[in-house]
Every structure is written in structure tokens, then in C-alpha cells.
């Protein structure tokens, strides 16, 4: 038995190293001057500098990307929650005909790949002169956030014991009151987790942002990608940009970690 335990810890530790070292490497890189980065051998002893950050924030206006990402993520999350949470409750609790069919249809919308949507969306937004606006990106990100909200919140509502809402109904509360005053407050942690996951997915999204954003609405992933693919790559600057993109995601991930897998599997795996 002991042998297996030792082997297990070894496997997990090695795996964690493979997971963490690349992330640590980019953080270390962001604190190096070019001379310390471009050495043929590994250089661990160096004087840390914040020049890369100063440059990324100063010259490249990276804070505009950060603000754009924040606005788009908040907008899409708010829209998805506003229309998705009531729908989730209806699909979990209310007597709707063909309930499973509706839920299945919504599940299918999650399977629609962004690549299939981005071409027609580009044309539609161009025709309506919405191309390059925040609205275009918020709408695009809602296509993947809304189904997540509906399926995740549905799984939270279904876990709630129905007695509590029935008690509210007996006390003279309406069906909507039971949702608003009883079910919603009780699922507040789930609601928060769902919101965080939407923010996360929106923050990381690349293809819609690449095609539908304009000069003034580009998001963080576009900012990071703009460093790459050019002939001379600014490793220090791109690493600093990557770290700036990482920090909010780590904070969000910390909050949502218990529910992350549930969100990624559409509520099918209980977190």
C-alpha cells in the first residue's frame, strides 16, 4: 500500500510542476531586461525590473485593453444573467410544456462554434453599423454565456428543496415572489459563481474580439496577441502583457474554483 501512496504523490507533484513552471516562467520573464531574457543558458539570478510593465502600460496603452475587456465582460455577464436566470428558474420549476426540449435546444446553442457565427455576425454588424462597438462584442459573448447561465442556474435551482418555495406560496406569496424572495437569495452563491464564470469566459475570448472589435474596443487577448507573430518579438513586453491578463483571471478563478468544472461541463458535473 505504501508503495502506491508514494507513487501517487510523485505523480501529482510532477504534474503540478509541469502545470506551474510555464506560468512561473512567464512571470519571471516579465521582470527581466532583454539582456537577461536572451541568453542561451538559463539565468535565474537577475535584477528584477518593472520596465516591461511601465512600457506596456505607458506606450502601448494596455490599460485601454484592460478597460475594454472589463466593460465587455461585465456587459455580457449582466445581460446573460438578466435574461438567463429567470429562464433557468422556469425550466427548473414551472410547468412549461416541452421543458426538456427547450433545455436541449439551449444546450445545442452552446455547441454552435464561434467560427460558424463570426462570419455572419461580422456582415450583420457591418450592415447595422455596429461593427467595432462594445455592443457588438457584448452581444457576441452573450451567445456562449447565456446558455451557461441557463444550464448552471437550472442545476442550482433544482438542488433547492421545493418545500421552501411551497411554504412561501402557502403564506400568500405569488409564484414570482417565491422565485424572487425565496429561491434567488438561497442560490446566491451559485449565482455569484455563474457570474464569475461568465466574466472569465468573456475575458479570455479571442475570435469574436479579433473580428468584431474596432480600434477603440480591442480587448486584452487582442492586446496580448498583437505582440506575437511579428518578426522581432518583444518577450519582456509580451510577458508583462500576459501577466496583466493573468492576474484578474487568477482572482476570479480563486472565487469560482469550486464551480469551475460545473461551468465547463454545463452543470452536468456537480462542483
Amino acid at each position: 500500500m505504501k508503495r502506491w501512496t508514494v507513487a501517487s504523490y510523485t505523480i501529482v507533484v510532477v504534474f503540478l510542476l509541469v502545470v506551474l513552471v510555464p506560468i512561473a516562467a512567464v512571470v519571471v520573464n516579465s521582470l527581466k531586461v532583454p539582456a537577461d531574457i536572451f541568453t542561451p543558458s538559463l539565468k535565474l539570478a537577475f535584477t528584477p525590473t518593472f520596465d516591461n510593465y511601465a512600457k506596456v502600460l505607458g506606450d502601448l496603452h494596455f490599460q485601454t485593453f484592460l478597460m475594454n475587456s472589463t466593460l465587455v465582460a461585465l456587459g455580457s455577464t449582466a445581460l446573460s444573467l438578466a435574461v438567463g436566470v429567470p429562464a433557468a428558474y422556469a425550466l427548473a420549476r414551472l410547468p412549461i410544456r416541452g421543458r426538456e426540449l427547450w433545455a436541449g435546444g439551449i444546450l445545442f446553442t452552446r455547441m454552435v462554434p464561434a467560427v460558424a457565427l463570426v462570419v455572419p455576425m461580422y456582415v450583420i454588424f457591418q450592415r447595422t453599423e455596429l461593427l467595432g462597438t462594445y455592443f457588438a462584442l457584448i452581444a457576441a459573448h452573450t451567445t456562449f454565456n447565456l446558455p451557461i447561465v441557463i444550464w448552471m442556474m437550472r442545476s442550482f435551482f433544482e438542488e433547492l428543496p421545493p418545500d421552501l418555495e411551497e411554504a412561501a406560496l402557502v403564506d400568500g406569496s405569488g409564484r414570482f415572489g417565491a422565485f424572487w424572495r425565496v429561491a434567488l437569495p438561497l442560490t446566491a452563491p451559485g449565482l455569484a459563481a455563474t457570474a464569475v464564470l461568465c466574466l472569465l469566459f468573456s475575458w479570455n475570448e479571442f475570435l469574436f474580439a479579433l473580428v468584431l472589435s474596432g480600434r477603440d474596443t480591442q480587448t486584452v487577448p487582442i492586446g496580448v496577441a498583437s505582440f506575437i507573430g511579428t518578426v522581432s518579438v518583444d518577450w519582456g513586453g509580451s510577458s508583462a502583457a500576459a501577466v496583466l491578463a493573468l492576474v484578474p483571471v487568477f482572482l476570479l478563478g480563486l472565487v469560482a474554483q469550486r464551480f469551475l468544472v460545473r461551468g465547463l461541463t454545463f452543470g452536468a458535473v456537480k462542483g
Binding site: A25, V26, L79, I106, P120, F176, N204, V269
Partner: protein, 312 residues
């Protein structure tokens, strides 16, 4: 919906209560569901319908105001004869099958090891999920740096231990696709680990005890109890990983742009380029429809499997 407007029959007061509540509940239900359906219809169904229609026209974006001739299914027959589509599909299948099989095997080993742990499991869980919350673009940048043939960490390390270094991972037509698969494995094996681990935690403890009483060894327990118990989780992983790897875009776009040559061209990338580099919108729309149809067929197949297993 017509029951909503039709006046109900006169009931005895005793029956009226619950029935009216049921009817009210139904009306409220549709009322709460409708906004979502409207949003999904406008944002998803409308663009899809639009691409379905425009895929029947020849339309170059470079001449926006010129007439768009109706060409019927020409764009679709073009897909069948397009060698790049064939190559992209082969690459995509290699990517999907390669990435998922490595992720499943590696994921199972790590999940089983994690399951065995008695201490530090929570911390390990928290750290393992880091790659999957990082934006794929950032992941791409990270690996571009690590695998840089001159100054990358992997190069420096393999140099230090005397392994061949200076390999242009993403610049070699033979290695570019495997390298992309490796990046996918790094980012998504954690997902496989966490889902499988969640499945293992729900196995009844008595089953293990019964097996041990029967004298089953460690590997035997893994094979005969743990593996069968997590089949629903495995199917779920297959569904989500297949969907996500099939439409891979971000990391390929950043790391190889489909090259060298066509060695890492994927169907998603080709659609993007058809639309936004060649401005051949009619054909791009047809490719979009093609991707959508294949995704729906694959996901319908998986969802049926899952339903049978009652995992969803």
C-alpha cells in the same frame, strides 16, 4: 399558448385554487423563458439563417456594392473539391484524436493518483485548474516562449542536460501539429483530471471494501471498479473536448497561422481566412454552415450516448 387567453371553465371553489395557480405558473413560466429565447434567436438563429442564405451566393467582400449572383449549392460542391478543406479536416481529426487520447490517459493516471492522496488534495485541486482559466492566447504566448529554439526555457533545459536543442517546434512541418497538441494537452488535461476526480469521489466506499475483502489488488480495483464507475464522466469529457478541439482557433492562429505550409491548417482557421483574408464571404458562409452541421451531428451522437448513461 391559447389556454392563456381562453376563459377557464367555472370550477368549484375547492378546485379553483390549485388549478388557477397551475395555469398562472405556466403563464409565468413562458414569461420568464421567453426573453432568453428571443435573445438566443436574435444572436444565434438569425446569424445562422443569414449564413445559410448567403452561402448560396457568390460574394466577395471587396466589391460590396456589386450584385451578388445566386450560385445555388456551388459553394458546397466547392467544399467537396477543395484540397485545403481535406487537409484541414485531416489535421483537425489528428488534433482531436491525438489531444483527447493523451488527455484521457494522462488525466486518468493523475486523477487516480489524486484520489489516492489523503493530504493536500484541496491545494492540488486549486493549482491544477490554473491552465484552464488562462486565455488560450496567453497559453500560446507562454509556449511560444518556452519552445523558442534559441532562448526558450525548454531549449535551455534540454541544452543543460545534453539533449538535442534548438528545435524549431512550430516551424517544422512535421513537429508543428504535435507541438500544438502538446499545448492543448497542457491546457486541458487538468480539466480531465478534475472531472474524473469528481466522478471517483462519488463511488460508494463499500465497493472498495468489498473488493479488498475479495483480495483484489490495487490495479484490479482501478480497472474493475474505478474505471467503470466514471464512464459517464469520460463520455462527458469526450463530448466537451471533441467540441472544443474540433473548433480550435486561438492557439493555432497565434502559434502557427496554419503553417508551415498547410501542416497545421484547421477547418476553423481556414474559414476565418476565407472570410477575412480572402474576403470570399459566400464560401466562408458555406464553410460556417459545414462546421455547424458536423458539430451538430457529432454532439447529437454524444448526447444520445450520454442520455443512455444518464449523465446529463
Amino acid at each position: 399558448m391559447d389556454t392563456l387567453t381562453r376563459p377557464g371553465p367555472v370550477d368549484s371553489p375547492v378546485r379553483a385554487g390549485p388549478r388557477r395557480r397551475g395555469r398562472h405558473g405556466r403563464r409565468l413560466g413562458y414569461g420568464m423563458l421567453t426573453p432568453s429565447l428571443v435573445v438566443l434567436a436574435v444572436l444565434i438563429i438569425l446569424p445562422l439563417a443569414y449564413s445559410l442564405v448567403l452561402s448560396l451566393f457568390s460574394w466577395k467582400l471587396t466589391d460590396l456594392n456589386l450584385p451578388k449572383p445566386f450560385v445555388g449549392f456551388d459553394n458546397y460542391t466547392r467544399i467537396l473539391h477543395d484540397a485545403t478543406v481535406g487537409r484541414a479536416l485531416v489535421n483537425t481529426v489528428i488534433y482531436v484524436v491525438g489531444a483527447i487520447s493523451v488527455e484521457l490517459v494522462l488525466g486518468f493516471v493523475v486523477a487516480a493518483a489524486l484520489f489516492e492522496m489523503t493530504r493536500g488534495r484541496k491545494l492540488a485541486n486549486a493549482l491544477i485548474l490554473l491552465p484552464m482559466i488562462i486565455a488560450p492566447v496567453v497559453t500560446a504566448l507562454l509556449w511560444r516562449y518556452l519552445l523558442d529554439p534559441q532562448f526558450g526555457l525548454v531549449t535551455q533545459l534540454s541544452d543543460a542536460v545534453g539533449l538535442p536543442s534548438g528545435i524549431g517546434w512550430f516551424g517544422s512541418s512535421g513537429l508543428a501539429l504535435p507541438s500544438l497538441i502538446a499545448v492543448d494537452v497542457w491546457q486541458w488535461t487538468p480539466f480531465v483530471v478534475l472531472v474524473m476526480h469528481a466522478g471517483m469521489l462519488s463511488i460508494n466506499e463499500e465497493q472498495f471494501e468489498a473488493a479488498r475483502v475479495d483480495g483484489a489488488g490495487h490495479l484490479r480495483i482501478l480497472r474493475s471498479i474505478v474505471l467503470p464507475a466514471i464512464v459517464p464522466q469520460i463520455l462527458l469529457i469526450l463530448l466537451f473536448r471533441t467540441m472544443d478541439t474540433y473548433r480550435i482557433f486561438d492557439t493555432v492562429f497565434v502559434l502557427t497561422k496554419g503553417g508551415p505550409g498547410l501542416s497545421t491548417e484547421t477547418i476553423g482557421l481556414y474559414t476565418y481566412r476565407t472570410g477575412f483574408s480572402y474576403f470570399d464571404m459566400g464560401y466562408a458562409m458555406a464553410l460556417s454552415v459545414f462546421i455547424l452541421l458536423t458539430v451538430l451531428v457529432i454532439s447529437a451522437f454524444y448526447i444520445r450516448l450520454l442520455r443512455r448513461r444518464e449523465a446529463l
